[in-house]
Symmetry: C2
Subunit: 326 residues, 2 copies
């Protein structure tokens, strides 16, 4: 089975188990949540949890309670992140806070976070709940930490971010949950020896996915890309690209880039100028190569898996997830 087919069938399995986790009543609380999670999404986290379990010789169903919990948690973070970033749209529709206002959107996210745990606690076996819960809670903390670090950069208008700081932020905000998905799969298969390798694999492809996303934002084919080219520059987002540019440009250029990124209202010309400087300083190439190396590193972590079929499955998923054009 190729990666695309595998993902499609597992997404169905996850959605079938996940949708009934949202209660029917009270409708004014859960109606909008049900519709929100039914908007879809790539579901890469729960699919990786099931695949990791299978790659370690376990039964995919054994990882399903945690896979569902992780996907519900991911959706909860989207609701709150969209408020925090003032994003008007999510998956082609208005964000919850645009439709219902900020107070209800905050509470909807909280209700969904509560469902994450009621789902896991009810569905996981007592034997797996403690160990699986430890993996999940560590990741959930790191996601909030990563988001908190980034929000603080915006609040303090900081651009002097080191690569180490950036990797700590993105490692929490994006990579931790994907690492936990893979680790949970191994854990549910009882594959204690393979847990660390799969966690490492997941964190690396999670980070690679994020960096590729940032590269694509500046280099994609506008005809194929869903967002506006250069939107990240417009929003002053700190990425591996801007960090490389700021630390490798000479004094005058660095000042100029920092001033452009810090401008509240940027013109199309400002955005294009930053992109041109990033190209000129090799910052986009640097980030692309960084992501490629992460994928290679992730694949070499798979060497710890005993099964050749398991290595093949995980490797093809890694390629599929990280390679995107839009």
């Amino acid at each position: 089975m190729d990666a695309g087919e595998y993902i499609k069938s597992r997404v169905e399995m996850v959605e079938k188990a996940m949708y009934p986790e949202i209660p029917e009543e009270p409708k004014e609380v859960y109606g909008m949540l049900r519709k929100f999670i039914e908007r879809g999404g790539k579901r890469i986290r729960p699919v990786l949890a099931l695949a990791s379990c299978s790659a370690c010789g376990g039964k995919e169903e054994d990882a399903l309670p945690f896979a569902v919990g992780i996907e519900l948690f991911h959706n909860f973070t989207l609701i709150h992140d969209d408020i925090e970033d003032s994003s008007p749209m999510r998956r082609g529709k208005p964000t919850i806070h645009m439709e219902y206002g900020i107070p209800i959107a905050i509470n909807s996210g909280d209700a969904l976070y509560s469902i994450v745990w009621s789902s896991i606690v009810r569905r996981a076996t007592p034997e797996k709940l403690k160990g699986g819960g430890m993996i999940m809670t560590e990741a959930f903390r790191r996601v909030a930490e990563g988001q908190g670090i980034e929000l603080n950069w915006y609040r303090e208008n900081r651009f002097d971010i080191s690569e180490r700081e950036y990797l700590e932020m993105a490692g929490g905000k994006t990579a931790a949950l994907i690492g936990a998905s893979c680790e949970l799969g191994a854990y549910c298969a009882g594959a204690e020896r393979e847990r660390a390798a799969l966690k490492d694999f997941g964190e690396k492809i999670g980070l690679a996915f994020q960096i590729k996303d940032d590269v694509l934002n500046l280099t994609a084919d506008p005809a194929k890309y869903k967002k506006k080219i250069g939107e990240d520059i417009d929003e002053g987002k700190r990425t591996l690209i801007t960090i490389h540019l700021l630390s490798n440009a000479s004094g005058g250029v660095r000042k100029k880039v920092a001033a452009l990124l810090g401008k509240k209202k940027k013109s199309q010309k400002d955005i294009e100028e930053v992109i041109a400087l990033a190209k000129e300083h090799g910052s986009i190439r640097y980030a692309s190569e960084y992501a490629e190396e992460l994928v290679e590193g992730a694949k070499s972590s798979l060497g710890a898996l005993g099964s050749a079929e398991g290595r093949q499955l995980m490797g093809s998923l890694a390629e599929y997830i990280v390679q995107r054009e839009r």
Copy 2:
């Protein structure tokens, strides 16, 4: 030992276990949370959990992981409720969103909710985690449901609330967590037979506490009261008092009250007029008596406890918690 002394010593025990649950790093995420939970509070929920455990013949320390988790959860709800209600102050200091802005305040609450579970999962024994987790997740869901129902009343500008609807809202928003605290105490003592009675006890005193709070808001001695008399009327809060008034006043008066409560900017005279009408229609007396009956009902639930000492401890805590002057 009297109730006041008992509470004081158990608050110390809870705080000693709770404060180290907040990590040190990253400081920009956890520093403000540490300070927030150190602002204090009555800590009635964790104290009731420990007392319920003891009243059922258990060791208080066995209930401590859940007691700490419940108090951390309560603090998380305060951070988000304060954003949702646009409250400027909490425990005599600016709310987190006033100090750091809404995006960081939302994320701080989320970080604290993540700590709730990392604390419980790490500290609870595997044997108790599933059963205790079931009690907690049910309560956490009901808190978000109650808050969601109330936010929806505000959004739709609804005042035609029935007493049944009000009790569902307050039963979730306020009573569920106090009921869960008491039930968890019994559960951790292994007192399966006494769980339902203690849950019922906790929900009743939780609701009584809320209703007394609402009565006090209209009738307290201004010299002793911490808030502004009539603030609830000013904010258009739906309470058992206003619901009784709206359903017992004649047509003309009802319309007038609904119009006054719905006004965006209320004068001091408007507020005083609603309070006078509530007195005239017996609505304040009705709510007071309702709360008293709940306390009596809560005490009779204690009949299920085998230990006379246990009944005495829980009864004196109920009196202490519900009787307040400010």
